[in-house]
């Protein structure tokens, strides 16, 4: 029998406001334990929350970018539960009137994955369990603003869920409301999954998956669960309504707790806060701040630059990368060259060093000049890689590097011919191989010439001259 998988996602994303949701403490991720706290985010008795307006701005922005309706009237509620990292023993969240609702993200296949709601809430602190058996508490994250994005169960495969997450992340980063770093916990994702036979007669119970530390883990956990659900249904059994955690090392999901008896959070309206009323002008003011979103940018890049789609995906992996690309293209018109150098050399190094494009040491002008040097033939591609490495590491101008390292390309035919002759003299065996039809010999000889010229000979000229001499 064929089965259809139903996947819904719940994504928590920390907002990039400077201060926390109900007090003026910093949201910075760096800092010693329990230094980003005050009586308010520690929930000391008598203190009261006051909503940070920027947080509401950010939530509206996320809602608009995700095609949501913005609620003109919403409120905060208390979600009550005891846990040592929750300072007030309730989380201020939103229950029945979320700030945004009814949005969607479109996939590449033009499918709408619907978003049921986006609501505002505060993050909790962190418990750290030591090897000695004691528990330590760090409240730096307590009160950091979060949005929780809840999708409809519209995804039918791990790939689709993965794509949804990639697109969601790109949008949230593009509009600069979240940095979406799963490793720092600024993006967290839970999955709700079940399967249904095609004729609808067999349906597995919904299982919630937690502890998913990367998008890959999300995809793997979905695939694992899909199989487990189908397997059980085929044995005429069923899944248990429960929460399971993904074990990345074992590549399997493990039962955490039953959901048969749902925890009762005793939600009720937060009496310490008024309602959140958002008028048309407020929404429009936020709408104006939304930049070109990834889907639109991609369409435009395809039209404007005529590059392969997969290259464009790399060029616009972040908004800043896309801006960098477009700024360089303004100065240096060879789009293919710009694309190649950014994708291959620059992107690789950024990834290797785990840095952002803001942190690069050279300017757009220098990068354009650098490309110009290659284009004009002042340096060849090989030398170019050396120059780029130096630019990337030191921020020196390309001209200076070329001068210092003496990397100017040798264009003089006579000078190159001398080197070619010397190489041929030293490698009679290769000449023989070449004449016997072994093409690899030619490559070897070119390599030897380049080596002798310390990489500076114009490779095209070397190629022509060797062929001339050999024939």
């Amino acid at each position: 029998m064929n089965y259809k998988t139903l996947i819904g996602l719940e994504i928590h994303s920390e907002l990039l406001t400077n201060s926390k949701i109900f007090c003026s403490c910093t949201t910075s991720f760096v800092g010693d334990e329990n230094t980003h706290c005050c009586p308010i985010c520690l929930g000391l008795p008598g203190t009261l929350p006051v909503v940070n307006k920027k947080v509401v701005d950010f939530a509206i922005k996320a809602g608009l970018a995700l095609n949501c309706e913005i609620s003109q009237f919403s409120k905060m509620d208390r979600k009550n539960y005891f846990y040592p990292d929750l300072t007030k023993a309730y989380q201020i969240s939103q229950y029945d009137l979320p700030i945004c609702h009814d949005g969607y993200i479109k996939t590449e296949a033009d499918q709408k994955i619907r978003i049921r709601r986006i609501h505002l809430e505060e993050d909790a602190g962190k418990s750290i369990h030591t090897n000695e058996g004691s528990s330590l508490l760090n409240y730096n994250r307590a009160g950091v603003p979060l949005i929780e994005i809840v999708s409809e169960p519209d995804m039918t495969s791990a790939d689709e869920a993965y794509e949804f997450l990639e697109k969601l992340k790109a949008i949230l980063q593009y509009i600069e409301v979240s940095d979406c770093k799963m490793e720092q916990g600024s993006l967290r994702c839970d999955v709700n999954i079940n399967v249904k036979s095609e004729d609808g007669t067999f349906v597995s119970n919904i299982v919630e998956l937690k502890n998913l530390n990367s998008f890959k883990a999300v995809a793997k956990a979905i695939e694992y669960e899909e199989k487990r659900h189908i397997h059980l249904l085929e044995k005429s059994e069923n899944t248990v309504k429960e929460t399971r955690r993904w074990d990345d090392a074992k590549n399997e999901t493990i039962r955490m707790r039953s959901k048969e008896y749902a925890q009762d959070y005793r939600y009720f309206p937060e009496p310490d806060l008024g309602t959140i009323e958002i008028d048309y002008d407020w929404i429009e003011k936020i709408r104006e701040t939304i930049p070109e979103l990834p889907n639109d940018k991609k369409k435009r890049f395809i039209k404007e630059y005529n590059l392969p789609e997969k290259d464009i995906d790399v060029l616009m992996i972040t908004k800043k990368m896309a801006n960098f690309f477009e700024d360089v293209v303004k100065e240096f018109k060879d789009v293919n060259m710009v694309s190649n150098w950014i994708r291959i050399e620059l992107y690789r190094r950024l990834k290797e060093n785990n840095t952002e494009i803001d942190d690069i040491k050279f300017s757009i002008e220098d990068f354009s000049k650098f490309l110009e040097l290659i284009k004009k033939g002042t340096i060849n591609n090989n030398a170019g890689k050396k120059v780029f490495k130096e630019m990337y590491e030191t921020g020196k101008t390309p001209e200076m590097i070329v001068k210092e390292k003496g990397l100017i390309q040798i264009e003089d035919e006579e000078q190159i011919r001398d080197i070619v002759k010397q190489v041929l003299k030293e490698n009679p065996k290769s000449i023989e191989d070449f004449k016997n039809g072994k093409d690899r010999a030619l490559g070897f000889l070119i390599g030897q010439v380049m080596k002798l010229s310390r990489g500076k000979a114009n490779p095209q000229i070397v190629n022509t001259l060797i062929k001339e001499e050999l024939i």
């Binding site: 006051v50 005793r266 009720f268």
Partner: protein
Amino acid sequence: MEVYKLTAHEVRDKIKNKEISSKEVTESILIHIEKTDPHIGAYVSIRDEIALKRAKKVDKDIADGKEISDLGGIPMAVKDNICTAGMATTCSSKMLQNFIPPYNATVINKIYEKDSILIGKTNMDEFAMGSSTENSAFKITKNPWDTKRVPGGSSGGSAAAVASGEAFFALGSDTGGSIRQPASFCGLVGLKPTYGLVSRYGLIAYASSLDQIGPITKDVEDCALVMNAIAGYDSMDSTSANYKKVDYKKSLVKDVKGLKIGIAKEYFEEGIDYDVKKQVLASIEIFKSLGAEVEEVSLPHTKYALSAYYIIASCECSSNFARFDGIRYGFRAQGYENIKDLFIKNRTEGFGDEVKRRIMLGTYALSAGYYDQYYHKALKIRTLIKRDFDRAFEKFDLLITPTAPTTAFKIGEKTKDTLHMHMSDICTVPVNIAGVPAMSIPCGFKDGLPIGMQIIGNYFDESTILRAAYTFEKNTNYHKERPNRR
């Protein structure tokens, strides 16, 4: 001269005229406390050294010719659920016995700005839950008019301190009558301001949507002075109202001509002591004789107020008190097996019975499947009660009722009977539910015990309440009586 018998404004005049220094006043009050408080038990903590230091500073300011405020240099007391930086704030609970907040409540900062001298923190029913100050984890406060009787509650310590002359004025908090009922039992003026007029920042919440801080004073003029000091918008409290600043001294006008006063008839029905009723109605006659227009009015949903109150307040407190888990501060039990066990032990041993009773009631009422039946229904009643008041204030400027059904009852008389204890809030609770302001002023005596009259005003119209109360005071002598401890 027995300084402690004076009102705050009388002492202010003497300090300003240099008849007496703030230091002398403060010293005499500290001595009076030492003599009196062992019999009354108004205070849970006294801060004599800092108080004297502050008093000396005021004296120096006066010597330097600086203008001092209306409350400058005057010793006062604060209920122990209002946070004072560096000074224990216990809510008269074992749970917070050693809790020293690192911040001041907004009202404390405002009182300090006026150079009032904070003498100490006063006893209360644990976490403001009670009507007699018998629920304190530390001690029972006694009524200065009769020490066999309760001072009322939950701000019983504050009221007893003012009535016995151990402070010239005090701050209390009122969630369902906790300022007005003890003011009534102790023959004082107590005002619960409009919800949102005084900042709640730093008031350890019992029921967030009902709590208000207000003054307990010896007369109406003092009440106006304290209101001038503590009222006003606070950006730290989202429920604080951005209402225009009013000078309440200007409301101290001896004139009620043309004022429309409603006799809220539901407040004079079953359960109200005959003499209390008689005395309040007689007081209304005084208003009438002074030119006020008096008529009966009905607030038909009053009978549901107490039930709605206990649902709303219990629900909110069950959540507000959840933070007292003994993990970061507060009472920590010895010996536990795991985190859940620790939570349970801390809370079981740290809270008193009445607190636990209300937490359980609220937790139950908010539970899935019961929310609509209880909390949501209580909110609907709340809307109806608000409408009753809105309708009444379309026609009337003020409403008058008794403050409490009886005069002060005997210690231990109602502790076994929770329902009867709760009944003592029957006249005051609707006011908190609606959020309107109301004052209790002394209007007579029964067997030597004070009777209180409640004057209810429209939202943010404390001025008219003060005006009527001031006029009444100027035409009667009840407020001049002082207890001779029995």
